[in-house]
Structure formats: structure tokens, C-alpha cells
Symmetry: C2
Subunit: 239 residues, 2 copies
């Protein structure tokens, strides 16, 4: 590489316009609990490519919009979920993941309660459905199966050491409601008695309201964001 070539390469390295454009999409894994089961929001594609297949709600990033706003709007446009939590999962950038051109996708994870509660398999609008994550296998467009898997795994991890489980629930909930969130997201049963004490022993996770529903005390979310001690999933014994 001679001097001028090196200089050109150097300048190009620092000039974004020197390269062909790469498309940037934002796709969201929106999770909610329906009837005790974890569900993910999907859209049936009406256009090329992958016409007819399921895809995550998403759109292309516009230069003047933030990733977060883009991620939330894509979900709001399709369903009545109000994400109590939004976080970035990561960026998926396989070279041929989109047949049209190079497109990378910044994936987001959103979860929250839906109101009113739909049923599992519920068709929210034209070509929009909630799919029960652990009950059936779903064929997605692009690499969206990978993204869903990463999103679910992230949700599972986050329930261990953050207080985010409460964002799946309405403001008031019982201990069983909260346990149901863990059971749905982790897809395994949990001992009610031990769960009860573990949650109460975790500072700031929930606080009692004082009222009851049937014979169950009602709680609201506490002010903790990180849980200590964590609600452990004992991964070593499982995966």
C-alpha cells in the first residue's frame, strides 16, 4: 500500500459516507402473560420477502429517531401492550439475513401487561397474533427465531436478579400472580412455600398493600430494581 492509498484508506475509515449503505432495522420481542403462559407478539408478513411467514414487529430506523422510540412504536402499532420495560437485546447482522440488501437488526425486548387480556393465539388485528412461546414451534421470517430465542433467554435471566417480573402484572397482585410470572417465563414449576418466603426476604421487591383478594394478600411492586438475594434459577442443575 503506497502512501496515497494508505491515506485514502485512513480517511475512508473515518468517513461514514465512503461506504455503501447498510440498512438498519429495529425489531422487538414483545412478551406478555396470557392465561399463565408466556406469549410473543408476531406479525404475518404481507409482502416480499418471506410473504406469509411470521415476523417480529419492526421497522427501519429513521435518521432522526431513537432506537427506543422506534422499538416501542413498532409494538404499539400492532397491539395494545404498554411496555413496562424495554431493553436492547443485541444486534443481529448475518450477511444474508435479508435477501434484498445488507440489513442489520437492532433487537429490543419489551414486556408488560396487556389490557384487556387477550386469549392465547389471540388475533389482535389484521395479521397480528400472540403466540405461546413454549407451546408449539413457530416458523419465522429472516432470523427472527434466533431473536425470539435471545429475547426469551434474556427475560429469563433478568427475572433472576432484577425486580422486572412485576412489570408483567397490573399494579396490584398476589404472591401467586408473581409466582405465575416466574413459572411462565422459566417454564417450570416453583415451590409456592419457598417462593413466598424468598420474595418477602428480598428487600424492596414487593410491599404489602394490606388488603386481600380471596384469602391472598395483595402486593405492589417495591422500589428495588436489583434483587438481593437474587431469585436463583440454579442454572447449573438445568442447562
Amino acid at each position: 500500500m503506497d502512501q496515497s492509498t494508505e491515506e485514502a484508506a485512513f480517511l475512508a475509515e473515518y468517513d461514514p459516507r465512503a461506504y455503501d449503505p447498510v440498512g438498519v432495522a429495529v425489531d422487538t420481542v414483545a412478551l406478555t402473560l396470557i392465561d399463565g403462559r408466556l406469549n410473543v407478539l408476531a406479525v404475518k408478513r404481507r409482502e416480499h420477502p418471506f410473504r406469509g411467514l411470521l415476523a417480529l414487529p419492526g421497522t427501519f430506523l429513521r435518521p432522526e429517531r431513537s432506537l427506543e422510540v422506534t422499538a416501542v412504536d413498532a409494538v404499539r402499532a400492532k397491539a395494545n401492550i404498554s411496555p413496562g420495560h424495554l431493553e436492547q437485546i443485541g444486534t443481529f447482522a448475518g450477511i444474508n439475513r435479508d435477501p434484498r440488501m445488507r440489513v442489520i437488526s437492532v433487537a429490543y425486548l419489551a414486556f408488560g401487561p396487556t389490557d384487556p387480556q387477550p386469549e392465547s393465539g389471540w388475533v389482535v388485528g389484521r395479521d397480528v397474533v400472540w403466540l405461546p412461546v413454549f407451546h408449539g414451534t413457530w416458523k419465522f421470517a429472516f432470523d427472527h427465531e434466533d431473536i425470539v430465542e435471545a429475547g426469551v433467554k434474556r427475560a429469563q435471566d433478568k427475572l433472576e436478579y432484577t425486580a422486572l417480573a412485576t412489570t408483567f402484572l397490573p399494579e396490584e397482585f398476589t404472591m401467586s400472580d408473581l409466582r405465575e410470572v416466574y413459572e411462565a417465563v422459566w417454564n417450570r414449576p416453583i415451590d409456592p412455600a419457598n417462593f413466598y418466603r424468598k420474595v418477602l426476604g428480598t428487600k424492596g421487591f414487593v410491599e404489602p398493600i394490606g388488603t386481600k383478594r380471596r384469602n391472598a394478600a395483595l402486593f405492589r411492586a417495591g422500589d428495588a430494581t436489583k434483587l438481593f438475594p437474587a431469585i436463583r434459577r440454579d442454572l447449573g442443575a438445568w442447562s
Copy 2:
């Protein structure tokens, strides 16, 4: 929104070319241990914008290259680190992070031993330096301070539940070498006796070679990737 406008919006949603381009950069937080201290690789910028400030090694994504290759090459071009581990941290996309145009950065974390061992503050090449992370504060260009912080935090987390600490070390190492990795990345002292037994009690983390250096047994990396039980950092008691 009338029918034709809606249709146009719908089509645009699925056509990447319908939007102004967004630049995609890849920046890498490359970490290594120098003299028992955690160091990060930085480049002094020679061009606008932020001329003269420190930045992470990085470049723009070309349509035909993968993120991972781009991330590793950016580091290899600057220093003699051979990343034993590479993972994506996340995508940083603040709207005005780059004054030239909208540029999002997919950030990667790399770590591994350097050979030969440089000294801390070592100038690897023209305008390339290793900076001791916890000894001094460094002013970076763009939002690269945030990216470094996220990278270091990710490294700290990963040492808890993965066997990646060994990738900071050469093939043969003593228990003290391994403890030094944890102390450098976590930036706090660890009881040698308890660490010793905790590591040996963690299936597949290290295996003894049988030989010694001074009076210390030598080990090599085991075949485990996830650690169980994890080497816990007791975050609750700290942050």
C-alpha cells in the same frame, strides 16, 4: 391517512431503501492484563471530529463484512492482542453522538493475552496506547466512555458465571495468575485461600498439569464454559 398514503407507509416500512442512510460503525473494547492491571486499547484520533481525543479502535461496517470480522480487524490493525474471546456488548445510537451524520455503533468486547507483554501506558504504535482502566480517568471521543464502561461491566459480569478468565492468560498458569485476573477485572482483592478452593470446586474450570512453577502448581483451562457454582462477586454487598 387515506388509502394510498397508508399503502405507501406500509411499503416503506418494509423497504430499507425508502429511508435516508444511517451509518453503522463497529467499535471494540479490547482488554488485556498488564502488570496486574486491567488495560483498554485506545487510539488517538488524528482527524475531525474529536481530533486529538482518545477513541476505541473501530471502523465502519462494509456491506460484505461480518460484525465480528470487522471488530477483530479493527483491533488487530492497532495492537498485537489475539482475542481469545469476542462478544457483542450492544449498539450505541444516541442521535447526536457523531456530529457528521447519524451513526450507530455496534460495540464489541475482546480480551486475551498480549504477546509480548507491553507495559501499562505502552505506546503500541503511532497514536495507539493501552490505558489502565481503574487508574486515571480518560477523556474519549464520541460516547466511547460509555462504551468502555459497558464493556468493563460486561467483562466483570462474565467472569462470575463463565470460564472466560482463563482467556486473559497464557496456556499454563498458576492459581495466583488466575486470581490476579479476577482482582484486576473486579478491581478488588480476593482471599487467596477461599479462591483456591472455590476454583478447584468448580467443575471443569481448570485442570492441573502436574508440574510446578516455584512452589505453585500449574493449571490449564478446563472444558467448562459456564461455571457452576459461579465465582460469586456478591454484588448486593457492593453496588
